[in-house]
């Protein structure tokens, strides 16, 4: 007496992305924490000192958040207009910020009032940064100038007026105290040396430059502007290396993951893309709710902070390995699992007699009903499963099994309005899925056969039948279009392939062995 063989649920190939180590790494973040700011978040900067607080510049304020706090640990509000570009110094003690009112303010992170105020720009300052020796400040402004300031004296050291449009981004070298780079809406990137009067290098991005980023080695420079992200080789005199076009709106912000292996770009199209820096291929992609203006990564990628135009700050923290274990531990505590495990992990001792007990195989509910030939109930159960978890695999597999048993028609028949409409709902949802079409088309035909006599009695069912008809018609048109395209492609391929002649046995005789002459090949040899 063989045991009942349960219905086989086929495993369909997963469409879409393949699982790579990158996706696993970047998926390993918790659900984002969202904090509402007063205006669009224009800049985020992490403190280089542990515990790596970060400054968020939005509207007329700069908030400093702790790594896990949702409330700001500190707030700087002494701005008369919109603040820009709050940046920490490399020792994490000072913070500099520009402002729409053209004044640059320097704060002590523990104080409240500005330590120094640098006045001189005539328009809003969007770019501020500290040089690597910590004594100077770089600023870039909408008055087309970029300037260097001395912190102790709060005086202007130099001013460069080479850009012909707003300067909206810039960065200082971390290795050389005199070198800094600015990007402007005049489509150019300029490298300046404070010891020289003029810029030392100019690169044409050919789009208004929104963000620049230096690699830790400072041999490569990344700029973003328009839909493009471009990488420049500074050691080869600013030669363009790669141009990436993976966003469909302006790329607003760039970041490097801490090991320098991955480059991140955020854009107004609400995506953050992650590139491999060896081949510049997109390895992962994050979606956000609104256009992204700013992006920053905590050291060691502990968290990803993204600021958006709608003023929402989204923080994703990396899952720690302990937490994962904790989750697993919680499951083990569940009583159901304990019941299953009971006695299973007992290791028999040396002298124990082992009496094996037949393991009772568990059958799913629909299988139990199939075993008893309760076909209609089995179909009901399968439909119920679909209603619960919206996965059509099991339902289709049960339908297929019923069809194989030759009883699908019986199972579909004799249903009331509610039952039938549920069935039709299922068909409308899945009949055009190519994986399920063969089975469901048969089922649909059967339903139409069975219930054609009662069409018109229920408005609900009629509406669904019309929907089904429209769906099928649309699908047929679609398939026809696809076939047309396929035909065109075939023609193209056929013309592009070189014609190859197959050696014909009669014409060429490549092998000398044949010379002895097994007569002429072919039909002559046939006997009468």
């Amino acid at each position: 007496m063989a045991s009942f063989k349960p219905t086989k649920i086929p495993i369909y190939p997963k469409l879409g992305e393949k699982v790579t180590p990158d996706t696993l790494y970047w998926k390993n973040y918790k659900a984002p924490v969202q904090i509402k700011e007063f205006g669009a978040v224009t800049s985020i900067d992490f403190s280089p000192l542990a515990p790596h607080n970060y400054a968020v510049t939005a509207s007329t304020r700069i908030h400093i958040y702790g790594p896990f706090s949702q409330e700001p640990v500190k707030t700087f509000t002494r701005f008369k207009d919109t603040a820009y570009s709050g940046k920490f110094r490399s020792d994490g003690q000072l913070l500099v910020a520009g402002c729409e009112d053209s004044v640059v303010r320097l704060f002590d992170v523990s104080g409240k009032v500005a330590l120094r105020v640098f006045k001189g720009h005539t328009k809003g300052v969007h770019v501020t940064d500290f040089t690597s020796d910590c004594y100077h400040i770089l600023t870039g402004s909408d008055d087309y100038t970029c300037r260097l300031w001395d912190i102790p004296n709060s005086t202007e050291l130099t001013s460069y007026k080479e850009h012909t449009d707003y300067i909206r981004c810039g960065t200082t070298s971390k290795l050389n105290r005199d070198i800094f780079i600015t990007g402007s809406y005049d489509h150019t990137l300029r490298v300046f040396d404070a010891r020289v009067e003029k810029s030392v290098m100019t690169m044409d991005h050919s789009q208004p430059v929104e963000s620049v980023l230096l690699y830790p080695s400072e041999g490569l420079l990344v700029s973003s502007g328009g839909r493009y992200v471009k990488v420049w080789d500074l050691l080869k005199g600013g030669q363009p290396l790669v141009s990436l076009k993976n966003h469909h709106k302006t790329v607003t912000c760039l970041g490097l993951s801490s090991n320098g292996q991955r480059l991140l770009s955020a854009s107004l199209d609400r995506h953050v893309k992650i590139y491999n820096t060896t081949n510049y291929k997109v390895v992962h992609n994050f979606d956000y709710a609104a256009s992204i203006l700013s992006l920053a990564l905590a050291p060691d990628d502990e968290s990803i902070v993204v600021g958006m135009t709608n003023g929402v700050l989204s923080i994703k923290h990396r899952k720690s390995p302990e937490e994962k274990q904790e989750v697993a531990g919680k499951q083990r505590v569940r009583p159901v699992y304990r019941v299953f495990v009971k006695g299973r992990n007992y290791v028999p001792k040396k002298d124990d007699f082992f009496v094996s007990k037949p393991v009772k195989s568990h059958l799913a509910k629909y299988d139990k009903q199939l075993k008893r030939f309760n076909i209609s109930k089995a179909l009901d159960t399968a439909l119920e499963l679909w209603r619960k978890n919206r996965k059509p695999d099991i339902t289709v597999a049960v339908m297929k099994e019923l069809d194989r048993r030759g009883t699908l028609k019986n199972a579909l028949a004799g249903r009331d309005e509610q039952n039938l409409s549920q069935l039709l709902n299922f068909l409308i949802g899945n009949v055009v899925d190519p994986r399920f079409t063969p089975v469901l088309v048969t089922a649909t035909e059967m339903i139409l056969d069975i219930y054609q006599a009662v069409v018109g009695q229920s408005s609900v069912v009629d509406r669904q039948l019309v929907r089904l008809q429209e769906l099928v018609e649309r699908e047929i048109d679609y398939q026809q279009d696809l076939l047309e395209v396929l035909g065109m492609l075939d023609t193209l391929f056929a013309t592009s392939l070189p014609r190859k002649e197959v050696p014909c046995p009669g014409s060429s005789r490549p092998n000398g062995l044949a010379e002895g002459g097994l007569g002429a090949p072919g039909p002559q040899l046939q006997a009468a």
């Binding site: 048993r405 048969t442 046995p505 092998n511 097994l518 040899l525």
Partner: protein, 829 residues
């Protein structure tokens, strides 16, 4: 036709053990069943084959226990004899010659010395009319007696053995045929007939299918084709009989059986459920479901403790106390047909073919035993007539037996064809195949051929299909997953022609695919079309590469009666012959090739075996083939005529190295009748009129032990044996005399005097023990051998071990006993 005395065709593997109702002996230790021309004895506890009772010369059609001696059994056969056997020792006691083919046999305790047999009616020999006759067995001491005393009991009975049954204590006998039940009372010498109206229900007639009588009461149970069971009572008169109807089966009731006490009625049918009705409380019934296949017979042991059911898949199930299946005796499953080719599993050397529905069976040819069933479809089998089931249609092993590929398909009326390609990996741990990859709808139409590449480096599978494509499948290595899975590597086609067959060369470097009339040769390494060969008219039916030294030849057969051989070095036709070859099969271990012909118009089949060894003298050649073939040596070309089947072969190429003599280069294999090769061919063996019906599949099975036959005509059987299966599902093979002698010797060696089930373990241990005992005895007491203890003598043993009621009279025994105690003169010396 020349007699080839040394080689004869024998049936192999799995005679039908479900042909007639099996018999369980009184002590429930053995089960006897008719199996082909012999009666097999199985042990009920270990399901092992114990021995067989051989002697009949035709199909055994019935086995019954001798009611007067429970250690004896009657068997009847279509050869017109009834034989009495001692089944414990396998000795033929008596043969009664009846003179007519016997279809079934019945005995009753009340009618001692009489057996009832069903024979054709004397005057209608050709027609389908049968009668039940009582045969009075003559009491005579001879081994062979002619039974002359026949008296007809009932005329016009069904030859089906289930259609006749003895009633309570043998007082009456009930027989059914068509819509009529006939009861014959022996005392009154009168018979009553009861007939049913031919009610049509669901298109099935309510005709009688089987009958069984209650052993204690006057009650007859009859089964009907519409699934009903009727219990007839009060039938000793014409008018006031009654019957009650039981209905559970939805198909025909195949068999019915009362338990010995009459408390239960067992019934079975196509549903493969054993239904267990409680007599007198008919609404109570128990079921034993999912027995595997339709039940054809049910038998109950005389003490009622064991049931056994025969099934349509050549299986006998032994059921203990009506709930537990305790043993399954499985023969070679012969389903509706074989769709897969006959295949040899490279690992176990077992023959693989379709078994139970949706299964592949692994059948050991050497041990004549089914090894195991592999469930391919993995779906619950629904026993219902007219249902389209999944069937395994193709199977293939790779060269080392690590991979098995199967194709299953289900054809629905008016709906899409469902095809699944499954690939199974051999698991060393469990010693069986584990499913690795399932490809749903690998092709859009039926798959016509499937082959693994024979080269050991790459495991590649090629499938050809009617959807105008052939596909190559490769095992993809995926480092991120633990084990690889199969994926499609290449899709090929040729001018939208339908590929019919394909073949790999022996080293796997070439692939030939037959596209209707054109043979395309591809290189599997680069998937380049190397050349095309064509020999119109007629689509290519089968393709086969030569092996070993003949690997440069490619053979093909076409539908328009052509057998062609191409030389692949020159890409030209080497020879061709008009022959209607339906099947080409190459021996993997030698150059030999077998070609099975089917002659259209006649059912006559022929097999030609061809080899390429050059022949010595033409005269010898003529001698060996006699009048069959006449060789015209009118210079070149040579023409061989086969007079009998009017085949003509013309050798276009007079052999160049004929002078090499005896066994110069062993060359190809060629065509059918004639040996041939491009140089000199000669058929090693040819056989005409193999069997009725077309040969469907054939395979060369390697022998486990090489034969050392030097005779030329049997040499081709040295390394491997040719098995083939016909439309009637007979598995046949060729065997030589030396081989049969060897088999006989080995079977004698295996004979054990004890009737305990023999297992290899028992043989091994038993032999060892005996030797030890003998050694000990010899050491301790050198006299022991001479003065044999009385317990050891055969007479004593017989006296003590045989039940008292079957022993001869005491006076007879006494003399024997005394004689056994005496020390004979010879041993005293």
């Amino acid at each position: 036709m020349v007699e080839h005395a040394e080689i004869r065709m024998v049936r192999r593997g799995g005679s039908k053990i479900n042909f007639r109702e099996p018999v369980i002996t009184n002590d429930s230790r053995f089960l006897l069943c008719a199996a082909g021309e012999s009666v097999n004895v199985y042990s009920t506890s270990t399901e092992e084959f114990v021995h067989d009772l051989q002697g009949h010369t035709d199909l055994v059609t019935g086995v019954v226990l001798n009611p007067s001696n429970h250690l004896q059994v009657y068997s009847c056969s279509a050869d017109g004899t009834v034989r009495l056997w001692d089944f414990m020792d396998g000795i033929l006691i008596k043969t009664f010659i009846i003179g007519y083919p016997i279809y079934s046999i019945y005995v009753s305790e009340k009618h001692g010395g009489v057996v009832f047999v069903v024979v054709p009616m004397a005057n209608y020999k050709s027609s389908e009319l049968f009668q039940l006759v009582a045969v009075h067995l003559p009491r005579s001491g001879d081994q062979e007696v002619e039974a002359r005393e026949l008296s007809a009991v009932l005329c016009d009975v069904s030859p089906h053995p289930g259609a006749v049954s003895f009633g309570r204590e043998g007082e009456y006998i009930a027989a059914t045929k068509g819509l009529q039940l006939e009861v014959f009372f022996f005392k009154k010498q009168k018979s009553y007939r009861f007939s049913l109206k031919s009610g049509m229900k669901k298109g099935v007639k309510n005709a009688f299918t089987c009958v069984s009588c209650h052993p204690k009461e006057d009650c007859i149970a009859t089964g009907h084709a519409d699934g009903k069971i009727r219990l007839w009572r009060n039938f000793n008169q014409k008018k006031e009989y009654t019957y009650t109807t039981l209905h559970w089966h939805h198909g025909a009731v195949n068999t019915l059986c009362f338990t010995p006490e009459g408390t239960n009625l067992l019934s079975g049918g196509i549903e493969s459920v054993l239904v267990h009705w409680h007599y007198t409380q008919e609404n109570q019934k128990d079921f034993l479901p999912r027995l595997g296949a339709a039940i054809t017979h049910i038998a109950v042991s005389p003490d009622g403790s064991l049931f056994c059911t025969s099934h349509s898949d050549n299986k006998i199930t032994i059921i203990q106390s009506c709930v537990k299946v305790s043993a399954i005796i499985q023969g070679l499953v012969k389903g509706d047909g074989v769709w897969t080719d006959l295949i040899i599993d490279p690992r176990s050397k077992a023959l693989v073919l379709n078994g139970k529905p949706g299964h592949l069976q692994f059948y050991s040819l050497h041990r004549d035993k089914q090894l195991y069933n592999l469930d391919i479809v993995q779906q619950e089998y629904i026993n219902e007539e007219g249902l389209d089931q999944f069937e395994v249609v193709k199977a293939a092993f790779d060269a080392r037996g690590d991979w098995l590929a199967t194709v299953e398909e289900r054809r629905k009326k008016g709906a899409e064809l469902e095809i699944n390609l499954k690939l199974w990996a051999y698991d060393k741990l469990t010693q069986s195949f584990v499913l690795n990859t399932t490809v749903t709808a690998p092709h859009e139409d039926r798959i016509t051929g499937m082959f693994f590449s024979p080269s050991p480096e790459t495991t590649m599978l090629v499938t050809t299909s009617l959807d105008d494509h052939f596909k190559a499948w490769l095992l993809a290595d995926h480092s991120d997953t633990k084990e690889g899975f199969w994926s499609c590597d290449f899709v090929g086609g040729y001018h939208l022609l339908k590929p019919g067959c394909c073949s790999y060369s022996a080293d796997g470097s070439l692939l030939a695919v037959g596209f209707q009339e054109v043979v395309t040769v591809w290189s599997p390494a680069s998937w380049e079309l190397l050349t095309t060969l064509s020999q119109p008219p007629g689509a290519i039916r089968d393709l086969c590469f030569g092996r070993l030294s003949c690997s440069k030849y490619l053979l093909g057969t076409s539908t328009k009666n052509q057998l062609c051989c191409w030389n692949l070095l020159t890409c030209s036709l080497e020879w061709s012959t008009p022959m209607d070859v339906s099947l080409l099969q190459a021996d993997p271990l030698s150059e030999n090739m077998a070609a099975f012909c089917s002659q259209s118009g006649s059912s006559d089949c022929e097999c030609y075996l061809v080899s390429g060894s050059s022949y010595q003298y033409q005269h010898n050649y003529f001698a060996s083939f006699g009048l069959d073939y006449v060789l015209h040596m009118a210079g070149s070309p040579w023409v061989f005529y086969n007079m009998c089947c009017s085949l003509v072969v013309r050798l276009t190429q007079p052999s160049r190295n004929r002078s090499n003599g005896l066994h110069s280069s062993i060359c190809p294999l060629l065509p059918p009748v004639f040996v041939f090769k491009p140089s000199e061919p000669r058929p090693l063996y040819s056989q005409k009129a193999l069997c009725t019906g077309k040969v469907q599949h054939a395979v060369f099975a390697p022998r486990d032990q090489m034969l050392e036959s030097c005779e030329e005509r049997t040499q081709w059987l040295n390394r491997s044996q040719l098995y083939f299966i016909t439309q009637d599902m007979d598995l046949l093979t060729f065997s030589t005399k030396t081989e049969e002698d060897r088999l006989l010797a080995s079977s004698k060696q295996l004979m054990v005097d004890d009737s305990v089930a023999v297992t290899p373990f028992y043989l091994l241990l038993g032999k060892h023990r005996r030797q030890q005992l003998e050694k000990q005895e010899a050491l301790t007491n050198p006299m022991a051998e001479r003065t044999q203890l009385p317990q050891g003598s055969i007479a004593i043993k017989e006296l003590l071990h045989t039940p008292a009621h079957v022993l001869p009279s005491a006076s007879f025994l006494c003399a024997m006993f005394v004689r056994s105690l005496l020390v004979s003169r010879s041993s005293a010396r």
